[in-house]
């Protein structure tokens, strides 16, 4: 089980991701824009952030910039979940530390669950390698 912060402005999709990820046994907190996500990070330390890019108030890229400035929970992995396929915004998100990008309208729930599980496994193995190195 992992802690996941879902940042998605579309209420229907945000709700759906919550249902799918809770069904997989994860602890899910929802935010509907980048600013709300930053606020939630004050008392929630996710292992993974599922981040939309185009959102009102504060978009995903600005969230990534502001979040790296706060240095809060820097080890959380960021999965970009967007419909802006092959866009400069996605390239920028990678530069700002995003781990992987998934196209929403191509991704079925079981695939979303698998990508998240793979990403978390990857993270676990990096942590294991670091511990072994010590």
């Amino acid at each position: 089980m992992a802690k996941i912060l879902v940042v998605e402005d579309d209420q229907d999709l945000n709700r759906a991701y919550g249902i799918i990820l809770r069904h997989e046994g994860h602890d899910v907190v929802a935010a509907f824009d980048g600013q709300e996500a930053l606020d939630k990070l004050a008392d929630f330390t996710p292992d993974l952030i599922l981040l939309d890019l185009l959102m009102p108030v504060m978009g995903g890229l600005e969230f990534l910039q502001q979040w790296s400035g706060t240095k809060k929970n820097p080890h959380a992995k960021v999965l970009i979940f967007t419909n802006m396929e092959n866009s400069p915004e996605v390239a920028e998100a990678y530069k700002l530390g995003a781990h992987r990008c998934i196209i929403k309208s191509w991704t079925a729930p079981h695939n979303l669950a698998k990508v998240i599980s793979d990403s978390l496994d990857g993270k676990a193995s990096v942590i294991r390698q670091k511990q072994a190195a010590k």
């Binding site: 999709l13 929403k104 079925a108």
Partner: protein, 380 residues
Amino acid sequence: MSQFDDPSPKSQLTAHEQRAEAEALFTSIGDGAISTDEFGRITRVNPAAQELLGYSEEELIGTWFPKKIVAVTAEDKPITLIDRPITKAFLTGKPIAEKTYYRRKNGQKIALSVNASPILLNGKPLGAIEVFRDITLEQEIDRMKSEFISLASHQLRTPLSAIKTYTHMLYDGYSGKLNQSQKKSLNTIISASDRMNELISTLLNITRMESGTIGVTPKLLRIDKIAEEVVKELSLTASSKSVKLSAGTKGHRSTSIKTDALIVKEIITNLASNAIKYTPESGSVSLVVRPQAASIIIDIVDSGWGIPKDSQDQVFSKFFRAHNIVKRETTGTGLGLYLVKGLVDALGGRIWFVSDEEKGTTFSFSLPRRDISSGRIKRD
């Protein structure tokens, strides 16, 4: 006699009249025009150029053009003498058309479309002439178009994502167990939304390409890494059909090249997803990067149904779908390879294929190692 009657033959004009006519022609060009001698010193400048650059004729005549009028890139880096269109035109003896930025007298940067040509007398270059036009407004419109397309893409896909996600959730039993007939109906919704999604994606990309709003931004990148990224991203699609998808490199030359990463990825993704789509279950698709001395070739090799010989000359045409495929695979727009060809052309590359029906197809494209220029691409 009206001004349009009985024009005198050119041979009857005196040398003085001919010079005056040439001067009048030069002065009345609506675009900025500057001519130089063989050393790059400005010999003539028309009023439009003076207005665009903010200098008077007296301030420009006799000065060294590359030093007086500084050319910069979009990122504000100075363009070296050898890369200036007028230098290239003078040295190659051929006309050069490029987009560039000049700095005005007040320091302001203006975007220009530049056409430079050598002035030749009996094959010997006497100097060069440059005609330039302010494209600031065009660039702004391009940027707005690009932003609109991006936003439209997002807005069209958001409801589609909700349709697809909730349909999948119903199918996967999140709201209770379903019978086979109900599942079959949901599968129809899923495949219809996939088709809609594919159509949005392709149409938006073609709109971008045909309207010239796809920006080409060359950067040094490794093609083998991009092929690996595509394999990673398409792995779920391939495994759902039990198609083995892999990427590898042949040869020891460098796989680094200066080109546009997003466009290359779009090309490889399109070709690889096509290959998966038109390969039967348990087949294979492999991406092979073959670095050469002057280019890098990327092969997309599949063990699919192949393209019939009698249709092979139409493969890159808009809306073309091979007759052997239409029977097997009803989805598809016939736009993917048209788009891919346009993108490969934009990167200065070449695309070709070899196909045997029932055995498979290898699509190959090459990317030149020589520098490609930044800017917008446009498909005629």
